[in-house]
Every structure is written in structure tokens, then in C-alpha cells.
Amino acid sequence: MERVDVTQGLNAYPVIVGWLQGCGVPGWLAEILYRVGAGLLVLTLIATLALVLVYMLRKVMGHMQCRLGPRVTGPFGLLQTVADALKLMQKEDIIPARVDRPMFILAPYLVFLSCGMIFMVLPLSPTWILNDLEAGVLYFVAFGSLASFGLLMAGWGSNSKYSLIGGMRSVAQVVSYEVPLVLALLGSVMLAGTLSTHEIVLAQGGTWFGCIPRWFIFLQPLGFVIYFLCGLAETGQTPFDLPEGESELVAGYNTEYSGMRFALFFLAEFGNTFAIAAMATTLFLGGWHGPVLPFLPWLWPFIWFMVKAMALTFCMMWVRSTWLRFRIDQMMDFGWKILVPLALLNIFISAGEVAAIRWIGG
């Protein structure tokens, strides 16, 4: 197995912390400063990603619907999302009368927080990982489902019937789809033998027979499909967009929100979409593995990671603009009666694969 050493590029942590300590900053403060800086970096990343993804969604959906999408603001309409973000920021902060104020105010932050926390364990490149937790995948699952608390809070706190039904639906959905999602993840975890996202990616390095990359998707096609569908449900994308199904619930849990609070929901939605795609890349598509060219060798893994994640995001948008919405009982049936048994089956398959690899002598 040929390993290209790409870690020499930008190993930020020792460099920055070392530099701060060199400036006379005490060790604990340097550590905190580094973490705060990293957090800000994540915020910027999510905001930028959301801008890009919103533009992409509009363009993709537009062209799929024989429309043009944004064209006027900036070259090719590139600044449209920026203009929208500015508009949302300027808007009056409306809190309707008789809402449950603490819940109403806290909910968008909680949703956004859960989305931001996920980004901590995403291995964007061999060195660009904010915190390589040993239980990274578990952490991802935990914070992914934290969002449903925020959605329920928004639904209850808004004191609107549409919001309430939307919030309830969202919890029901996230709770049921969490199960097959975790079971689908388990296949990759079993193959890699670790919960750390970084090491799962490392385990996918190299090739079989010199041509097929050693990505887990080739061993886990079923797991990948289940994960993808559950990911759609977790982020509330089209076949599972019941919580905010506009033809039924106007806008679901965020009916009463406007301005910046709405923007936070919006950011979180797109951040989550990307996070789900990025996690799928990590677990099934070999993460940042890809051919490294001599030019800027430390950047290429990041580029490969983004390309894969964006391709998956595109698939989500594709599905979003083609399919339609399940009914609530059909959604539940699909989750519990089809996806959960299949995911369980997938665990047996992966166990067999693990055994086979050991037997061959992997």
C-alpha cells in the first residue's frame, strides 16, 4: 500500500499553539485561543457553504425545472444568496405575541449549534480535523439528533398549530430514522474497526487489485443507500420533508420565524445537508483519498473531499427536485418496516465481510 505523505502541509495545531506560546501566551490560554479560532473557522465555513449550497440548489433546481435560476445579481447571479443573507439580517426581529419566549428564542440557536458541532469531527483532509475524537461517529450521531430538540422547541414555542404539527412530525421522523442510520453506519465502523472518523478514512486507503479504490461503498452498497435515504430524512429533504411540507403545514416549524432567526434555521438546514454528505464521504467514499498531484500536495485531499461531498449534495438536490413527499404513516412504515430490517441485514453482511477479510488475511 503506497501512502503519499500529505501530513507535512499544514499541521495547524502545533504550529499555531507553538507560535502563541512563543509570543509569551501561557499554554492554557493558547489552547483556548486555538479552539475559539477553530470554532470561528467552522462558523465561517458553514456560512460560506450555505451561501454556495443555496446558490447551487437554486441553479440545479432551476435548470431541472426548465428555468434559469438566479441570473441578475452579480455575474451569473452569484451574489444572489449574499443579497438574500443581507436582506435577512436587516429584517426586523419579530417575536409574535403569546409565544413561549425562551423556547422561541433558543430554538434556532440550538439547531444551529447541533449543526456546527458536527463539523468538528469531519476529516476534511489528513490534518484538517478540529478534534479527532475516538468516538467521532458516535459524536456525529449524537449531535445530529440534538437538532430535533431545537425543532420541537421551535414548533412548541411558536404557539402556532402548523409549527406544532411540524415540530412533532420532525421529532417522530428524526427518532425513527436515527435507528437505521446508526445501523447503516455500523457496517463501515465494523470494517474499519474504529469509531474515529480520521481512522475510518485511513482504513480506506489503497486499492484492491491495483485498480478499485478501497472505499467501503464497494463493500457496503446497501449500507450506503440506507445511509443516504436516512440522511435525507435527518435533514428533512424531499421525500421526507414532512416537518416543513409547504402544501400541508405552510412552513412547518419555522412558520413564525423571520429575519435572522429564520436565517439560522436556513443555515443549519444547509449545513446539515453538507454534513450528512460529508459523513457519507468519510464513511463510504474514502474521505479525502484521491490522486495527489505535485502541485500543492497538501490541498489535494481537501479538494477530493469537497468534490465527493458536493457530488453527494448534488444527488440530494437532484432527488429533492424530482420526488415528492411521503405521508406520515408511509414515512414511518418505510423507516421501520423496510430500512431497519435492511440495515440489520447489512450488519450481518458486514460481519461476513469482516470475517472474509480476516480469513483471506487482510
Binding site: 433546481m61 431541472m64 425545472q65 426548465c66 428555468r67 403569546r98 413561549d100 412548541w156 404557539n159 402556532s160 398549530k161 402548523y162 406544532l164 404539527i165 412530525r169 424531499t238 421525500p239 420533508d241 414532512l242 411540507g245 409547504e246 402544501s247 400541508e248 403545514l249 405552510v250 427536485s321 424530482t322 420526488w323 415528492l324 413527499r325 411521503f326 405521508r327 406520515i328 404513516d329 408511509q330
Partner: protein, 548 residues
């Protein structure tokens, strides 16, 4: 539509009811029974039970102020034969009262409320005799001929404010929803008048138990513009643009109903070429309306893309309309005695091109929407419209045919030139939402067949006049005429009464949707919210027609 064996029936009914009724046969061959108010309920019941008039086609009234009478008119139908019969009940203007027919036909509910609203006729025994189009507290009844519109003082408090001041339905704060002491906790949610999936300003107060609909109360009247009253103040020709604005997705078909009625009343002969053009335009209008219907099915179930594909073809049809009449949505193309102008020379080639492309487009919709398993899961076996319910509520149009009743006015009572065209009437089996959807797709194919035949016919007939000689100010002789056509939404009727003047004395629009929508609670009870939206898409409601 004629009454079958009208003369024979006349003697039979005279024998059956004796003095209570005076039967006559009008020039169209429709049997008319004039019944005194006390005998009316009994006669109607007998007609329903013994003579098989199972559908209340229309219920309306005319104010004959000279005779000091308000005549309530029941138009009964038997869809299987098909057969029609009119019952007229003249009432005293000073105290108009008649027993309700809601016990016989539930469809009479809203129709009677409407007559009460317009004429002040009291229907004794009606379960909820309140105004339906105008607001409570409106002074007087506008369709009485002695009503002075500008005597009305504006209301002290706007109707909607009065409603708000009267207290909301249900608790203001969700936290006040009680725990129900073990019973199901019910929530009343207003879908509409402003709601993304309500087609227009329809309001449904839905009582929910979790996701399941316990009950639903449809509320209409938000788009009421008094079309029928407006028509009484216009000349006969000037009414045409108003008919466009009822079901604005099928303006051509509406024009057709009206001009046919006036032509029947005034005895005007229409040039053949004009009539072919009318049929052609009506079928294009039907394709257009059904396109929007299936697009809305997609949108209401969560797929935006098919809706926009549908708009693509809709624009092409609009371009064709624009070419002949200059209007896109509101065409105002038909005139009394023909059509406004002949087809431009580039029209037919473009229409043929459209007809060539269109099957591929339907194929595309089938691929993206009809073939989608989720879509089929959402619609199949959802709602169950039986023949009995459909007849009880006087449902017409694709919904009725979805319930398996073979009734299409084009076949049952061929008006215009439809007897010369070869087409089929697709029928459903289950009466579920899928049938509502799929019948519309099938009907588009049939409409295309008719358009193709119309083009051939048009080329065979060759150029000629398209507008008959009609006096500038038309004054049809005293009388009345009723014409009903198959509009995309259902059986659209137009009843006109003339007193020999330049204006219609009474103009009644039998809106299929207004009557269909009544049956909504019956269909959605027990289904989920999402099903309610899908079922309501099956009505293909256009509030312009419901509220007029």
C-alpha cells in the same frame, strides 16, 4: 337535455299528483312541473324515490316581481338514462317559504343557503340556514328586483373584523388545549383562506386528532364578486368577459356555456366554421385546465418540478389563444352568434406542431409523476367516492366518472357539434384520488383526438363566415333557456331568463365546483392531513367559480 317521453310522463304525473301539479312541456322538450309550495316536498320526494330522479342538478330561484312571485326552481336529473325534469315552486314574494330538500339531496344544503342569501327564501327545516356568500348582517337580499344596491350603508365594522371580535375558534394559546380527560385531544386548524395548498381563497376549518382529520368544515365566499347580479346590469353581449372570470383556467369553456344559452334563447344560428372553432378552443381549454390540475396534484403532494413542466405546455396553449383572441388567461373569444375573429393563417400549423409535441410531454409527466411509486402510494386507495355519495352530493365532472358513473355531457346530451366527433369517456373504478388524477390524464388524450378531428373538419369546411348576423343590441324575446356543457371541472350550466329587454333578467351560473366542494367533509373524514390535501387537489378547485 330532453325529458324522455315527455308527453307520456306528463299524463302519468298528472294522474299521480292530481291537482297539486300543473305539468307543461317547454320548447326544449323538458317537462316542467309547477307545484304549489305545500305539496313541494312530497312531490320532490316522490320524484326522487319513485321516478328515479336521483340527482338534484341545480336549485335556484327567479324573482318575477310583476307576478309578485319568487319561483324556486329545482332541476332534477337521472344520470343513467339521462333524463331531466324541472320543478318550479312559485312562492309569495312577501313571505317566501318552502320546505327544505336537504333531507332528499344533501347537495341542496349550500344551494338553498345561496337562494336564501340572494332571495331571502326561507327553507323550513334547513340545518343551517345562514348566508353563504354575503356577510351576516347584510341588509336585504340583492337578487330581489326591488333591491337598491346603493341604499346599503357600509357596515359599521368590516365583516372580517366582526369575525375576529367574535372570538376565535379554539384556544388562543396552545397551552390551553386541555388534556381531554382521556378523550382524544382535538385541534382546530384553519387551512386557508391563505394557505399554500388551498387553490385560491378556500378555507377549511379542520378538526384534527393528531394527524387524523376528525371533521372538516368548508367555508367559501371569500372571492364572491356577485357575477350573477352584475350580469343583470349588463347587456347580453357584455356578460361574456364576466364568464371568463368564473373558472379562469377554462375561460373558453365558460364562454361556450353562456353563448350557447343566449343563442338558444334568441334562436340564433351559428355558422358551422365558428362552431368548429369553438369546439377546438374548448378542447384546448380542457387540456389546459387538466394540465393545471395534474400539476397541482404534483405540487400538493410535494413535487414542484412537474408543476413547472406543466406550465411549459400551458404557455404554448396560451400562445395559441393569444394568437386568435389577444388574451391569454381571459380570452373573451366567443361572441353571441359565433367567434370574435377567424383563425389567423399561422394558427393551424402551430397547433399541429403543438399536437405533435404534446404526447411526448404527457409521457414526460408520466415518467416523472405518474410512474413515481411515492406518488402512487400517496394517491391510490386514498378517499373512497362511491356512486351513492357522488349522486347524493351532485358531484359532476372527472370526480363523478372516477366513481364509475358514465356521465359526460358531451355524450349524454351532445351540445354544439360533439355528436360528430369520435371520442371516449374514460371511467374510473375505485373513486380514489388516483382515479381523480389519472382520468384527467386520459381525458387529455381524448381532447387531443377531438382537436385533431376538429382540424380536419375545419379544413374540410374551408373558409367562411365566423359570426352570424346578430342585432347590435340583442333583445331576445321573453323566455328562458338552460344549457349545460361539460367544462373541465364538471357539468357547467347556464340558465338565462329574458324579459324581452336588453339585459338578462336572471342569469344563473350552475357552478360544478361550488356543488362538488360540498362533499369534501364526506371524503376526507378519517384520513390524514396529507390525504386531505391530495383529495382536495382532485376537486381541481378554482375559487373564482365556487364563489363567483
Amino acid at each position: 337535455m330532453k325529458t324522455q317521453d315527455a308527453e307520456k310522463r306528463k299524463t302519468v304525473l298528472t294522474k299521480r299528483f292530481g291537482e297539486a301539479v300543473t305539468p307543461t312541456v317547454d320548447p326544449d322538450g323538458v317537462l316542467e312541473l309547477v307545484v304549489a309550495p305545500p305539496q313541494a316536498p312530497e312531490v320532490l320526494k316522490t320524484l326522487h324515490e319513485e321516478y328515479d330522479f336521483h340527482q338534484l342538478h341545480d336549485l335556484t330561484a327567479v324573482d318575477y316581481i310583476k307576478d309578485n312571485q319568487i319561483t324556486v326552481l329545482y332541476r332534477l336529473m337521472n344520470l343513467d338514462k339521462p333524463d331531466m325534469l324541472v320543478v318550479k315552486v312559485p312562492l309569495d314574494r312577501s313571505q317566501p317559504e318552502v320546505a327544505t330538500a336537504t333531507g332528499i339531496w344533501p347537495a341542496a344544503n349550500w344551494l338553498e343557503r345561496e337562494v336564501y342569501d340572494y332571495f331571502g327564501v326561507k327553507f323550513v327545516g334547513h340545518p343551517n340556514l345562514t348566508r353563504i356568500m354575503l356577510w351576516e348582517g347584510f341588509d336585504g337580499h340583492p337578487f330581489r328586483k326591488d333591491f337598491q344596491a346603493f341604499d346599503q350603508a357600509p357596515p359599521d365594522i368590516e365583516p372580517h373584523e366582526a369575525y375576529l371580535a367574535s372570538g376565535f375558534e379554539g384556544p388562543i394559546d396552545l397551552r390551553d388545549v386541555g388534556n381531554g380527560n382521556g378523550a382524544a385531544r382535538k385541534l382546530i386548524v384553519n387551512f386557508g383562506p391563505q394557505h399554500p395548498s388551498m387553490h385560491g381563497v378556500f378555507r377549511a376549518a379542520v378538526e384534527l386528532d393528531g394527524e387524523t382529520i376528525v371533521d372538516l368544515k368548508p367555508i367559501v365566499g371569500y372571492l364572491h364578486r356577485g357575477l350573477e347580479k352584475l350580469a343583470e346590469m349588463r347587456t347580453w353581449a357584455q356578460v361574456i368577459p364576466y364568464t371568463d372570470r368564473t373558472d379562469y383556467l377554462a375561460a373558453m369553456n365558460n364562454n361556450h356555456a353562456y353563448v350557447l344559452a343566449v343563442e338558444k334563447l334568441a334562436g340564433i344560428e351559428v355558422p358551422l366554421r365558428a362552431e368548429i372553432i369553438r369546439v377546438l378552443m374548448c378542447e384546448l381549454g380542457r387540456i389546459h385546465s387538466h394540465l393545471m390540475a395534474i400539476g397541482c396534484f404534483g405540487m400538493d403532494t410535494g413535487a414542484l418540478t412537474p408543476f413547472l413542466y406543466v406550465w411549459r405546455e400551458r404557455e404554448k396553449i396560451y400562445d395559441l389563444f393569444e394568437m386568435v383572441c389577444g388574451g391569454r388567461l381571459l380570452t373573451t373569444y366567443f361572441r353571441i352568434g359565433g367567434v370574435a375573429r377567424d383563425l389567423p393563417p399561422e394558427f393551424l400549423p402551430r397547433l399541429k406542431k403543438f399536437l405533435q409535441e404534446f404526447p411526448k410531454c404527457i409521457e414526460q409527466y408520466n415518467n416523472i409523476l405518474s410512474g413515481n411509486e411515492i406518488f402512487q402510494m400517496r394517491l391510490r386507495k386514498v378517499a373512497h367516492l362511491t356512486r351513492e355519495v357522488a349522486l347524493k352530493y351532485s358531484i359532476t365532472g372527472p370526480m363523478l366518472r372516477a366513481a364509475g358513473v358514465n356521465y359526460d355531457v358531451r355524450k349524454a346530451d351532445p351540445y354544439s357539434l360533439y355528436s360528430k366527433f369520435d371520442f371516449k369517456v374514460p371511467l374510473g373504478k375505485n373513486g380514489d384520488a388516483w382515479d381523480f388524477y389519472w382520468l384527467r390524464v386520459l381525458e387529455m388524450w381524448q381532447s387531443m383526438r377531438i382537436v385533431n378531428q376538429a382540424i380536419e373538419y375545419l379544413e374540410e369546411v374551408g373558409p367562411g363566415p365566423v359570426l352570424a348576423k346578430v342585432p347590435k343590441t340583442l333583445k331576445p324575446k321573453e323566455g328562458e333557456a338552460y344549457v349545460h356543457i361539460e367544462s373541465p371541472k364538471g357539468d357547467l350550466g347556464c340558465y338565462v331568463v329574458s324579459d324581452g329587454g336588453p339585459n338578462p333578467y336572471r342569469f344563473r351560473w350552475r357552478p360544478p365546483l361550488f356543488i362538488n366542494v360540498q362533499s369534501l367533509p364526506e371524503l376526507v373524514r378519517g384520513w390524514k392531513i396529507a390525504d386531505f390535501i391530495a383529495i382536495f387537489a382532485g376537486y381541481d378547485a378554482v375559487m373564482g367559480e365556487v364563489d363567483r
